[in-house]
């Protein structure tokens, strides 16, 4: 076997790009689930983010406004989910799936005028000096801004959950909503905010695909990334740092299997393309040896009947 033609530096650099959309979406979902809500509509919110971001970026010429709109679009869609699950007390699994169906349909309608258009380009954040460091430079310091936003968000989510009062309240709500309610926390309000945050993050992840990674608009272009993001959250045992690790592993395996093919390694392709999913399962099994559990109230309906 010959791996010589695979350049590990370039591989790592493209891994970070491939990981960013699922990283953003998974971080949002992590916060949602930490608050005790299971929103399976990530795919729907991502694709809405993808089209909102794309449309606004094309019409205004500003990718930044595009990303803002994507976050807004994702959050708006997640508001529907919040209304259903927090006020109408509907089942979360079913509501999430409905959200995905709805999001896919709506995005296709919204996007009808945007097929075959190129979005405004987004410059790379070539940090001078740093990006010239051999090996490390291209891997760490020569990406678009959103890659760093994703990394920053990992740190922010981790720090907020761990060290702030807000994080404490959020976790309390997720662990035992009845106790949290008895302590005087606004369970519903906190959960709605968490859901909106999750929607905004998923929207950003979707816009990353339509504005940077691909970049173009096509129907159904998120192609299952939302489901991967959901898997990442469990994979990470609801810990922000591990979401990053998981996103890199998943992005890495995806990129690596394409590189192996291009390098002409004789592995049956159809089995190679299964590898990201099989490896995710494998890592899930290894990780579940760790006994950190899901938030105790995850997916349960809260109704303040007292």
């Amino acid at each position: 076997m010959e791996f010589g033609s695979i350049n590990p530096v370039l591989l790592l650099a493209s891994l970070m790009v491939a990981a960013t959309p699922i990283l953003l979406a998974a971080l949002g979902e992590l916060v949602v689930e930490r608050a005790g809500v299971l929103n399976l509509g990530v795919e729907g919110m991502m694709i809405i983010g993808a089209i909102c971001g794309f449309a606004v970026a094309v019409n205004t010429g500003s990718p930044v406004l595009g990303f803002v709109a994507a976050a807004g679009g994702g959050a708006l869609l997640s508001l529907l989910f919040a209304l259903l699950t927090q006020f109408a007390l509907a089942n979360q699994v079913a509501s999430g799936l409905a959200l995905t169906l709805f999001g896919l349909g709506l995005s296709a309608l919204l996007g009808q005028g945007y097929v075959g258009i190129k979005p405004p380009p987004i410059g790379k954040l070539d940090i001078p000096l740093l990006s010239d460091i051999p090996y490390l430079g291209p891997v760490l310091f020569a990406h678009d801004v959103m890659v760093y936003v994703g990394l920053g968000l990992v740190v922010a989510v981790w720090a907020v959950l761990k060290y702030t009062r807000l994080g404490l309240v959020l976790r309390a709500v997720g662990e035992n909503h009845d106790a949290a309610h008895a302590l005087g926390y606004k369970v519903v309000r906190i959960r709605v905010l968490a859901i909106l945050f999750g929607g905004a993050c998923a929207g950003l992840g979707g816009a990353y695909i339509s504005l940077i990674r691909v970049p173009q608009w096509t129907e159904g272009m998120t192609a299952g990334a939302g489901w991967i993001a959901l898997a990442l959250v469990v994979f990470a045992s609801w810990k922000a740092g591990r979401v990053l690790l998981g996103a890199w592993i998943f992005g890495g395996v995806t990129v690596l299997q394409l590189n192996l093919q291009a390098a002409g390694i004789a592995i049956p392709v159809e089995y190679l393309s299964m590898s990201p999913y099989l490896i995710t399962i494998l890592v899930l099994v290894i990780m579940s040896a760790d006994r950190s559990r899901a938030p105790a109230s995850l997916g349960r309906i809260f109704h303040a009947s007292q």
Binding site: S14, V115, A223, Q261, A263, V269
Partner: protein, 357 residues
Amino acid sequence: MNLTKLLATAALALGLATTAMAQDKTKVGFIYVGPIGDGGWTYEHDKGRLAVEEHFGDKVETVYQESVPEGADAERAITQMALQGADLIFTTSFGYMEPTLAVAGKFPNVKFEHATGFKTAPNLATYSARFYEGRAVQGHIAGKMTKSNIVGYIASFPIPEVIRGINSAYIHAKKVNPDVEFKIIWAYTWFDPAKEADAATALIEQGADVILQHTDSTAPQAAAEKAGTVITFGQASDMGEYAPMPRVSSIIDNWAPYYIARTQAVMDGTWESVQTWDGIGAGMVGIGEISNAVPEDVKAEALALKAALADGSYHPFTGPLKKQDGSDWLATGETADDGTLLGMNFYVQGITGDIPN
């Protein structure tokens, strides 16, 4: 009363009705495998449909159904169009072959046309395009333009259509550049922008400075644009928004002339079940404008090749050619017959790697 009888009666009644209204409108139906907004395969078929509408104006009515899954749903969608009085139905994906055949048997008075298949019936014709002719032109430009001598190829599924394209491109790249090497990634998808982007990036990282694609999105074009010096070719549609760099030319599916001709045939009552396999000459395969990123002499050669393909004086698979394993395939001057081409399941000599199966 059984279903076949019922359907036949309905079809008959409708058949009579449509004959009675023949002066009125000819109804043409289209079954699409993707959304009309996919920017590639289905998008081009729908352009063909719109061309039919424009050409015939009030004399036709077109209906379509998009994103029809292959299998039981397709059979229902096609039946439904026939029931609603369509005179001519185009089913535009290989996977519709069995459903189309089944429905054609129940509606003898409706004409059916199935794209890229091989099963026919008295009221079922097939049509497809010789895209490999376009691949020959691409291969020529690729062989001339590559500096790293590495050409990346994003393949979709290991089926004869795709393998023909790889072989044709390789033969013509090799002809002008004996050192050229093809790196092939099987994406196992016709359309998945994110995956195509990753595949293009992987190929570029491995030194490819020309990317050919048999998948439909523009994602590889964008990846090449980012890389700067890599050239690409549009697939299915012109992808002109990426010209002059990285997109230096393209293969365009142009179904409009065929759709118009067949609709006309139904109107005139001259429609017959045929197996059409047209190429550049008939205009079914278009070569998008070769951009100024290509040197003048290469452009001239490519256009000459295109002309030779169009008038039939040159066949892309002309001997001497050997198969990958070194066995003889075509003797000097011999050209490949359509049967071998339709079922092509081998690489020509020089391509490394195996076809997955």
